[in-house]
């Protein structure tokens, strides 16, 4: 983040993991203040756990509200997943079954979040390695219904769509056709890794590599269906030199430019 504190790299906005800035004070907050002087901020949460049956934590929401008030992010997003159960926090984004019960739960949690924050949030599709017996909806139908019930937007992670589709055997085109395009406020791209072959073949969402070619193709398809959207490259482990990251961002910008009309204004961060 120190590269961005100086305001040198060209980027449309800087996205943070909200919980990393929940401290009362200290160097991280001070650095974010500097970044805020040069770039718009987007708050991307990994801990609110809007999929939790026990509901979202009121203290967590209050702290998030404080962060939002202080840094006035352009976008606030969370994941369609759970990580809190019986007040234990599992540090991973675990998928929920796509049932009516889960839809009611997630919708309540999203309602409560948007009410407390006083603004719309975007909900991101997860990467997953399994499906549930109880699921009665596809992921895109679940997200569509969630958006309709709560007014939330969607953060479309194209790498997650690809990873989940390959692992769980669904059609990525049907996914993109099924998503309400107007609700999509942001797109994420990232790298994944491939392990095993045959029945053991598994794609793992690592955020530690270049965006794979089939994900670029799916991204192009998404842009053609949705139109230009602000796009972020996520790279959280084995982080390369800034030039490599900016190279990926330039590739994404070329895809956006290829579908942009004269009024298209979406940017890559």
């Amino acid at each position: 983040m120190s590269d961005f504190a100086s305001g040198t790299p060209s980027a449309a906005w800087v996205e943070i993991h909200s919980e990393n800035f929940f401290a009362a004070g200290g160097p991280r907050i001070a650095q974010l203040e500097q970044v805020r002087e040069h770039y718009a901020i987007s708050c991307h949460g990994v801990g609110l756990s809007i999929g939790s049956a026990q509901g979202v934590d009121a203290d967590h929401l209050s702290t998030l509200r404080t962060l939002v008030d202080r840094f006035e992010p352009g976008l606030v997003s969370e994941h369609l997943s759970f990580s809190v159960v019986d007040d234990i926090y599992v540090n991973d984004l675990l998928p929920v079954p796509y049932t009516e019960e889960a839809l009611v739960t997630v919708a309540q949690n999203v309602d409560q979040t948007q009410e407390r924050l006083g603004q719309q949030i975007l909900v991101e599709n997860p990467s997953s390695y399994l499906t549930f017996v109880d699921s009665v909806l596809t992921e895109w139908d679940f997200l569509t219904a969630l958006s309709q019930r709560t007014g939330c937007g969607l953060l479309l992670d194209v790498n997650n769509i690809y990873v989940s589709a390959e692992n769980n055997g669904f059609d990525t085109t049907a996914y993109l056709d099924g998503i309400p395009g107007d609700a999509v406020g942001e797109i994420h791209l990232a790298g994944h890794s491939l392990e095993g072959d045959g029945e053991d073949r598994l794609l793992i969402d690592t955020h530690g590599d270049n965006v794979a070619d089939p994900v670029w193709s799916l991204y192009q398809l998404a842009l053609e269906k949705l139109g230009p959207r602000p796009t972020l490259i996520e790279w959280d482990t084995d982080i390369p030199d800034l030039e490599v990251l900016l190279g990926e961002a330039e590739t994404a910008q070329r895809h956006i430019d290829s579908v942009s009309s004269s009024e298209g204004s979406s940017r890559v961060a």
Binding site: A24, R28, I88, V90, N91, P97, L130, D134
Partner: protein, 253 residues
């Protein structure tokens, strides 16, 4: 019920106990255990990384493999209770005390306490240091009645072992660890005046003085307590030093 499924999934993530979740999963049995293993590995490894970032000195002292085993035991018995992970790991020093394989390193829990106080200081609220010139305006006969507010980043530490020395000789830039007298007690404090965490060893009487001021005693009472412990306690120099460090943020009469 959603809650029961989620409880079963959390058990997979934390301890790789898959039995309760399997009936809920549609993915073919042949592939599922390895896939559930990905969730377990993600959870465990990311939390080990959190502890490793908070306790680099402990990790250096015991080595990577020992630290991984220690962290894994800690994570499964003391999983995080909230999602703000820079607050996760506060219970590790006490856990080390009860961790039998670490029994032959009795100084380890106190060194871990020092590392955790540094984490606390790093994330504590910001505050402006008291301007020393304001103290000069206090009439001489009222000096003893002064009470201070201390920095929210200040942490006081007292140990039967030389925790600050052990911490120092285990920094990455120290490639040859010198002999350390483990029977030598040390007391001191951790403070983050601006953006950098600092620590300093102080004589026990200074720690007594700081502890009294922190708990709201007057400068006069704190100084008497320090002098009772050690009659060479130098109030003027100690006060000047702590005003320069930024230990105090405000004073009251």
């Amino acid at each position: 019920m959603l809650h029961d499924l989620q409880k079963s999934f959390a058990d997979v993530a934390l301890t790789n106990s898959v039995e309760a979740l399997l009936p809920h999963v549609a993915t073919p049995r042949g592939a599922i255990e390895r896939r559930l293993g990905v969730y377990h590995a993600n959870t465990l490894n990311s939390l080990i990384d959190v502890l490793s970032a908070a306790y680099p000195v402990i990790q250096r002292i015991v080595g990577d493999r020992f630290f991984q085993a220690l962290a894994k035991d800690f994570i499964t018995t003391h999983p995080p209770q909230q999602p703000t992970l820079f607050r996760y790991g506060d219970a590790l020093p006490d856990f080390i005390s009860s961790f039998a394989p670490a029994n032959d390193l009795p100084y380890l829990p106190d060194v871990a306490r020092l590392e955790w106080t540094r984490v606390e200081a790093y994330f504590a609220a910001d505050s402006a240091a008291l301007n020393p010139e304001r103290l000069a305006e206090v009439p001489a006969e009222q000096i003893a009645d002064i009470k201070f507010s201390v920095s929210p980043t200040l942490r006081l530490l007292e140990s039967d072992v030389p925790i600050f020395t052990i911490w120092h000789v285990n920094q990455p830039d120290q490639d040859r660890v010198p002999e350390v007298d483990f029977s030598h007690p040390e007391s001191g404090f951790v403070l983050r005046p601006a953006h950098t965490v600092m620590q300093r060893v102080v004589p026990l009487e200074t720690l007594i003085w700081l502890r009294a001021l922190t708990s709201g005693e007057t400068l006069g009472t704190a100084t008497e307590l320090a002098l009772t412990h050690e009659n060479t306690f130098d109030l003027q120099n100690t006060l000047r030093q702590h005003l320069a460090d930024g230990t105090f943020t405000e004073f009251y009469l």
